[in-house]
Symmetry: C2
Subunit: 157 residues, 2 copies
């Protein structure tokens, strides 16, 4: 049985995110899952997603941390509400703040693994801490503050 990614369970109207929306044809399609108490995401950037030749673009890495954190926050809120993890709709969060520390250059080529911990869930606010590794080496750390949005928010004008 295939386990759905967090992002597979967003409502259809909120599944157009460039980073993680399953309905955004040009997007990154970031997908996140539980692994015990951590959340994980594995991505392989395209050859043009570089900063300097041979190394992954830091903005792309910030995108991965952003959307993986948003998805992790949604999963944490869904779990905190006592909902079954494999059934949507998941709540949708937006990012209030994102802090990314680039510890060392991230090699282009091997898969990138993100592992996150849910630091806190307080009402609609979730804090997520992320470690990003390539070939076992930690290259980037991230911390994101995510806020659950009301279902009727962000109506396109």
């Amino acid at each position: 049985m295939t386990v759905p990614a967090f992002q597979d369970l967003y409502p259809e109207g909120w599944s157009h995110c460039f980073g993680c929306g399953r309905l955004n044809e040009k997007g990154h399609h970031i997908r996140s899952f539980w692994d015990g108490e951590e959340t994980v995401c594995t991505m392989s950037p395209e050859p043009w997603q570089i900063a300097l030749p041979g190394y992954v673009y830091g903005g792309y890495l910030a995108c991965l941390i952003d959307c993986h954190s948003t998805g992790s926050a949604a999963a944490a809120l869904h779990r905190a509400a006592g909902q079954p993890m494999d059934q949507g709709p998941y709540p949708r969060c937006v990012t209030a703040s994102l802090k990314v520390d680039y510890l060392k250059p991230t090699l282009l080529g091997p898969p990138i693994e993100l592992r996150s911990q849910i630091v806190s869930v307080k009402g609609r606010k979730v804090v997520v801490s992320t470690s990003l590794r390539v070939e076992g080496q930690e290259c980037v750390r991230g911390e994101a503050v995510l806020i659950q949005v009301p279902e009727d928010a962000f109506t396109p004008r």
Copy 2:
């Protein structure tokens, strides 16, 4: 006379960044300029660069702040070294840390304007503070710490 963007004056081998490299065919081509003591950048995202429908993807905004800050840091270092601003090669910086605060949703459609201040230049380290606005409304604030890399660093393996 056309004024070159900071990113136009990077050495050719370091002009492949997905965010700002003039030689990256698929990239964003972020371009930054002086405006007095501030640096400015204006961008118009593509329709698919969204988070929720009608609003710009936060990861894209982080990319803008990242590359505009990197370019601003290069320009500040070039100026501090007494070099003429319209002649390269500019030094190349990488991001050590990036902090982005999303104050309000960023409307998709109108041009996005970034304005940055050079907070400090100490040796190879530059701190840049950025305000990102749409239709005059401040939507995002960023602070980045940039480090100048030696010319022989980051040789592709």
